[in-house]
Symmetry: C2
Subunit: 146 residues, 2 copies
DNA sequence: CTAAGTGCAAATCGTTTGCACGATT
DNA sequence: AATCGTGCAAACGATTTGCACTTAG
């Protein structure tokens, strides 16, 4: 399962990426980034819990501030997979579309290829450039269909 | 603009639809339904403000409870067009997909035809039945593209 | 040393709930 | 008259903010 392993890797030289833009490389930021990488679809709450396994006392507001920063720097992204909190992943992993089943809640990731026709149609017909990484499709999965 | 006008009309015999299912037809429910019809993409907060133009003292929790009921009865639906509160419309108007521009915030409604290829592909490839009415596509509109 | 980052607590936003009173059937 | 619905206030979960203290550079 080399693919899953690759997708769970923190961006190389994450600290340099921060410093290059004038931000500081702190242990908290490293921990958040690692947690996001390890967890996959994780809410800020999830990330906080994971981080606290490694270091005690990292505050939830630091989690929020860090996720915001990392997103702004293009290292992570988020998607809304339900009514509650958004979920974060590494930006490197973001290149997929989420299918969320309304009945069983199952989340399937499909390649952007699957939505290529949509992207093309919207580009041509509406002059609209789709942000594929943020696309979530709600519906009903195979097992839950009548 | 007959289309816009039609799309802003409250379902006929809304009160009968309620009574037929054992619910009561109250002035508050009528006001909420009318507000949703009039406003289009409206948050519960928006609906509350609109309703209070017509009648004072309609409480926000009544707005929430009523929207939930009307949605359950299939008279309205909601979509998530951004980070904040969801927006409601008449179910009759729901048969469209939302394009949300990340730069200027503009919301464009496109016909489900535009996403037909996606729906078909997901059905065939993933055995997934897409809920088109709830589909929101984020990206960048023509005016904001580089 | 000094600005940037963090922890903490309080504030805010959106939404839900318990309960007593009022309105529809 | 009997329920159902509403208003009110409090509770709630998720997120943000102000401020004093800590730390990376």
């Amino acid at each position: 399962m080399a693919q899953a392993r690759d997708s769970e890797r923190v961006p190389q030289a994450w600290d340099e990426q921060l410093r290059a833009r004038g931000y500081r490389a702190t242990p908290q930021r490293q921990l958040v980034l690692e947690a996001v990488a390890r967890l996959g679809h994780a809410t800020p709450e999830d990330v906080g819990a994971e981080v606290r396994q490694a270091a005690r006392g990292v505050n939830i507001s630091t989690i929020y501030r860090t996720l915001e920063l990392l997103e702004q720097l293009g290292m992570v992204t988020h998607a809304h997979l339900g009514h509650g909190a958004p979920t974060y992943h590494l930006a490197a992993d973001a290149d997929h579309v989420h299918l969320v089943c309304r009945s069983c809640g199952k989340i399937t990731e499909v390649s952007p290829e699957a939505v290529r026709p949509l992207v093309t149609a919207l580009d041509a017909g509406q002059d609209f450039e789709t942000d594929v990484g943020h696309l979530t499709v709600f519906g009903r999965c195979g097992q839950c269909r009548p």
